[in-house]
């Protein structure tokens, strides 16, 4: 929260409309999320000249109120209304919180021109029964009639609620830093507050050692004989506005300076501390009781302030109870230091102690302000706590004092932004930013102010500063001057799109599920020899394993749909999977159940193993793998043992297809999964092939075979026994039951023969055909049933 009254100490913004200013600031990059204003127009201090009972009510009064320019008749119901009282009057036209507009009205027949207000009605107090019972607010007798009561009460502040990007939250979360931001937007200058103080004759004698790499700056000053009391009103009001509770003048001053300069300070009770400070890394398991009375256990990543023996403060995070400033404190040691941002952030996170101070350390600090803050604290302690300040200070300073400098030309900035700013205008822009610079022959040498920790010495940074002040609204759209070409899908993206298109056209709908699954799911449908990655710190056990297969996820989608009464599910997903060696495999997974082609009044065409097999074959052929794949028996334990197969391409297993095991579901659900990476571009180009010119001859045959003989094997035998004239083999009947002996089946084949360069004669075909029959009969002890 930034208080505009407070910012007004450093930059003149009295002429600014607070809402317009907020818009300007937001446009320049710091998002003012809320403007909380206490100003209400139409309020005036009035004096009640007379009070009479309302003729038509037993609790209303008719008052005449002098508001300076005129006398108003107002009907008022408050019990404490009385003659001579100074009150807050909302005149006709005033808009009170809740968008409540004051209008001229008649209350039970009596004209009323305004409203006498309670503080809660103006939003300055909470709407409680207690506040309600107090009635209208009674101002002091010397309140000036006709003036603005909010100003008179000192409540006329406006607060900005900021949402600052991370890089600017070191300089925009304190009032002086924010004043600089307003200064560059309005092109005005900042005046820093007074750092002056008198010193007593005694010189500080103090032993300071820094024995860690994580404290780059440590300054200590000493003050004596402070008088602990309540803070002055303005400090209390400002701290409250910023969301901090006032405690006493000394504690409040340390907070006040932090909100001014962004530099957290720590005050030690000097008498409890002694004469020595050693800053070092904490020891393993070192303990300290912090201000809140809790014992904290530290490790070597934490930084501590010690008195040479024991910790007295967790650096940047919280002070120790043993050196706490209390009501009896007389002498104070003021610490103003810079600790390593990452270490402070980690310690605050680990101890769960995020405070205004630790947050600020965690964002980084500028040593210039560290020093100024120390002086400013002395100034305020002298003024508001009657402190006597010892001469001098002790400091350990490892900060880099080199200035951040940068050379560039106006055109460098123009090139980045795509705008045209002249050298002359560039000077104005840098002036406005309050960045010191020299310019020679169009080359600028700029010194980056230390308060702007976010700015590196590169021209893009300057372009950003110039750009945001110039206004991105003023950019003119252009397109990059680059050669014309059409982009492409690269690598696996291309194949993913191909497969996706095909599966969609085969009736499967694409789904997307989560990569992280629970261990139960991860155990299901295992068909490969893979170990899964298990997250060391998952958010929940439900999302703790990186899946190696998508089948379990698709089963969930099926369940989700089944629960919604959807019976027919044909879905697929293509996603990356990983094993515990981080080997990536992109998988194509499908799940099909219910009807494939739907017509209930005729007959649905239901999904079965052969439909899914057909989908896979179609996909493989589409990808160009004709005659290179086969299906062989497999043994995935979550699939039906007799209804599953491994998919083999060029002799390598690339996936699985089967029916989900009846132990897992009562429904007939078929799943498949394929390794997409195995389908990458190993195919040849399409070649035109002329079809046969000569008529074909078709021959049928049927065998009685042992039931367990696989028809696929018989087909292979037929192919081997034949010559080139055999063009196609079709299975047109598979039959078990009546007329076929037990444990036998009848299978009928239809063979198509075609001559390559002449019309085949029946005799020619019969030679081959008989050879095939003999081979099948011999190989499988088959009985020829028909031909």
């Amino acid at each position: 929260m930034i208080s505009l009254n407070w910012v007004g100490d450093y930059i003149d913004i009295k002429d600014q409309d607070v809402h317009e200013l907020a818009t300007k600031i937001t446009k320049a990059g710091i998002n003012v999320e809320g403007v909380i204003t206490h100003h209400i127009s139409g309020l005036v201090i009035g004096e009640i000249l007379s009070v009479e009972d309302h003729p038509d009510s037993d609790h209303l009064h008719v008052c005449v109120v002098n508001v300076g320019k005129e006398k108003l008749q107002i009907v008022c119901g408050a019990p404490n209304v009385r003659k001579g009282l100074k009150v807050i009057v909302a005149q006709v036209g005033a808009i009170l919180p809740g968008n409540f507009e004051i209008k001229k009205s008649k209350i039970r027949g009596v004209e009323s021109c305004g409203m006498i207000c309670a503080l809660f009605e103006l939003g300055f107090e909470e709407k409680t029964e207690e506040n309600y019972a107090k009635g209208i607010h009674e101002l002091d007798d010397d309140a000036p009639v006709g003036e603005d009561p909010v100003t008179y009460l000192g409540l006329d502040d406006t607060l900005y609620d900021l949402d600052v990007h991370k890089h600017r939250n070191n300089d925009c979360y304190y009032h002086i830093g924010f004043a600089y931001e307003i200064a560059c937007i309005l092109n005005r200058k900042v005046t820093l507050p007074s750092l002056d103080f008198k010193t007593v004759k005694d010189k500080i004698k103090f032993n300071l050692e820094v024995k860690t790499d994580y404290c780059s700056y440590y300054m200590a000053r000493e003050v004596r004989n402070v008088v602990i009391k309540e803070s002055p009103e303005f400090i209390k009001k400002r701290l409250l506005a910023a969301g901090m509770r006032p405690i006493n003048n000394v504690v409040d001053i340390s907070n006040y300076v932090m909100l001014e300069f962004g530099q957290p300070l720590h005050f030690f009770d000097k008498d409890k501390l002694g004469n020595k400070i050693v800053v070092r890394n904490a020891k393993e398991k070192e303990e300290i009781v912090t201000l809140d009375g809790k014992t904290r256990i530290l490790d070597t990543n934490d930084i501590v302030i010690t008195d040479g023996k024991k910790p007295v403060c967790i650096a940047g995070v919280m002070g120790g109870e043993n050196t706490e400033v209390d009501d009896n404190t007389k002498n104070i040691l003021i610490e103003s230091a810079i600790f390593d941002a990452v270490h402070i952030r980690n310690t605050a996170k680990k101890l769960e102690l995020p405070s205004e101070a630790s947050i600020r350390y965690g964002k980084g600090l500028s040593y210039e302000y560290t020093e100024m803050a120390s002086k400013r604290a002395c100034h305020l302690l002298e003024k508001y706590a009657d402190a006597e300040i010892l001469e001098g200070f002790v400091v350990v300073d490892h900060e880099n004092h080199d200035e951040k400098k940068l050379s560039f030309k106006a055109e460098d900035v123009n090139k980045i932004l795509g705008i045209e700013i002249s050298t002359a205008d560039m000077k104005k822009e840098l002036d406005r930013l309050d960045f010191p610079f020299n310019e020679k022959k169009g080359v600028f040498e700029v010194t980056i102010p230390r308060r702007r920790l976010d700015i590196d010495a590169n021209v893009n940074d300057i372009a950003e500063e110039i750009g945001r002040l110039y206004g991105y609204n003023n950019l003119v759209s252009s397109l990059p001057s680059v050669p014309i070409r059409r982009g492409e899908y690269i690598g696996d993206v291309k194949y993913r799109k191909m497969v996706s298109r095909r599966l969609r056209s085969l009736g499967l709908t694409e789904v997307k599920t989560y990569t992280l699954i629970n261990p139960e799911m991860a155990k299901k449908f295992i068909y490969e020899d893979k170990e899964a990655v298990v997250l060391p710190n998952p958010m929940s056990v439900d999302k703790s394993v990186v899946r190696t297969s998508l089948i379990a996820s698709l089963m969930n989608v099926y369940e989700y749909n089944k629960a919604r009464g959807i019976q027919d599910v044909s879905i697929y997903e293509i996603a990356k999977t990983y094993d515990n060696k981080y080997q990536e495999t992109t998988k194509i997974c499908g799940l099909m159940t219910g009807s494939y082609i739907h017509n209930s009044w005729k007959r649905d065409f239901e999904v079965d193993f052969y439909v899914v097999k057909g989908i896979i074959e179609n996909l493989l052929e589409y990808m160009g793998y004709q005659k290179r794949y086969s299906f062989v028996r497999s043994d995935c334990s979550d699939l039906h043992p007799g209804v599953q197969a491994a998919i083999v391409l060029d002799g390598k297993k690339i996936g699985i297809v089967g029916k989900v095991h009846p132990n897992l579901t009562k429904k007939d659900i078929y799943v498949f999964e394929l390794d997409l990476d195995s389908l990458y571009g190993r195919t040849s180009k399409i070649k035109y092939q002329e079809s046969f010119k000569y008529p074909s001859i078709q021959k049928d045959m049927a065998f009685i075979l042992d039931k367990e003989i696989e028809v696929g094997d018989v087909i292979k035998t037929i192919q081997k026994a034949s010559d080139k004239s055999l063009q196609a083999i079709d299975v047109f009947d598979v039959y078990e039951g009546e007329n076929v002996a037990a444990l036998k089946k009848s299978v009928a084949f239809s063979l198509t023969f075609n001559g390559v360069n002449h019309t085949l004669t029946d005799e020619e075909v019969m030679v081959v055909f008989n050879k095939i029959i003999d081979k099948v009969v011999l190989t499988y002890h088959a009985e020829l049933r028909d031909k």
């Binding site: 997307k512 958010m539 989700y560 017509n599």
Partner: protein, 349 residues
């Protein structure tokens, strides 16, 4: 004698050739006259027995009879065929109002549909579509994007680490940009987008998801400016949401771009008039973008004195939610097939 026979047959014909719609009657007639022992056939075979001088006349008479019959036969046959066909067609008529057989094609996932639209816009402007690993090294996900270890920018992307602080589930798709630049070895211009899954430690609710689809893009070439980014964003959003959609830039901050901007577009819900969706501003923020930070270019082997570029990123979910008025991000990951099947169609421009 023979002519008499001809006249008898002729008379018979005249009596027999009546209209009929009975195929059997017609066929019987054919047998009677033109069958093997048919009357006309018999007369025909008599020709050879007729004296030569009468042969011609007799032949003509017989022929006449044959023609008469054939004419009758063809005409009647056609009538009967038509009748039979009509009967059949009538019988075959179906109730066309019965429900159709559903031949259903699959629908794309809604996010993929939106992503493909974005891909199409960028591919038409010469951007390749590239993908990369989802299990990433810290180096590519953070360090080479100007986010060193300990940097506060990492806090905002609360990351799923897998192995120490080196291996993680990518929290953004930017590592694909880094990998693409490294492949370019500082020599070739780059135009690419990389839509893909990303992961952050967010609790899933209507507007948060621990897994989401990011679409990031990168252009590295010579003399590329922030204005070029503005023009590119204009093209994208006009194509996605219509010609009247405007874009505006607001200053922002990202580690890997400098200057950085947030891109707002005209609120699609109210066309910029102001509504609860845009918090009555008329604008919604959709993209984070900026000029590629010189450190990022340098780390990936591109000399920032020679090369420049812009990068941008946005969430596919947010885009899809805006485009299709969806208000729960989980919709994309819990596919209710009744909801998704309507996305299997071309969308109106």
């Amino acid at each position: 004698m023979e002519n008499k026979r001809v006249n008898e047959v002729k008379e018979m014909l005249q009596k027999d050739l009546v209209e009929t719609d009975d195929l059997k009657v017609l066929d019987d007639l054919r047998v009677k006259y033109l069958g093997k022992k048919g009357l006309i056939t018999e007369l025909n075979s008599e020709i050879k027995n007729v004296p030569n001088e009468e042969k011609k006349e007799f032949g003509m008479l017989v022929n006449e009879l044959r023609n008469t019959f054939n004419e009758y036969f063809d005409k009647t046959k056609e009538i009967i065929d038509t009748k039979i066909l009509n009967e059949r067609l009538e019988k075959e008529a179906i109730d066309i109002s019965l429900p159709a057989t559903k031949i259903e094609l699959g629908a794309p996932n809604i996010l993929e549909k939106v992503i493909e639209e974005v891909e199409e816009v960028f591919m038409s402007m010469g951007y390749d579509v590239v993908d990369g690993p989802e299990i990433e090294e810290d180096k590519y996900n953070f360090e080479m994007l100007n986010i060193p270890k300990g940097h506060p920018a990492r806090d905002a992307q609360d990351t799923f680490y897998i192995e120490g602080d080196e291996i993680l589930l990518r929290s953004q798709t930017s590592p694909v940009q880094v990998r693409t630049m490294l492949k370019g070895e500082g020599k070739i211009p780059i135009r690419m987008i990389c839509p893909g899954k990303t992961y952050r430690r967010d609790d899933d609710d209507a507007s948060h998801s621990h897994q989401f689809m990011q679409i990031e893009g990168l252009l590295v070439d010579k003399d590329i400016s922030l204005s070029d980014l503005k023009g590119t964003m204009d093209v994208l959003f006009k194509r996605l949401f219509g010609k009247d959609v405007e874009t505006r830039f607001r200053p922002s901050y990202y580690q890997f771009t400098e200057p950085s901007v947030e891109v707002d577009i005209t609120c699609v819900n109210c066309h910029g008039k102001g509504c609860p969706v845009c918090k009555h501003t008329g604008w919604v923020t959709v993209v984070g973008a900026g000029v590629v930070h010189p450190n990022v270019l340098r780390m990936s082997g591109y000399d920032p004195d020679v090369w420049s570029g812009f990068a941008f990123g946005f969430g596919a979910e947010r885009l899809a939610m805006m485009k299709y008025d969806i208000n729960d991000i989980r919709t994309f990951y819990n596919a209710d097939l009744r909801e998704t099947c309507i996305f299997d169609r071309e969308d109106e421009e």
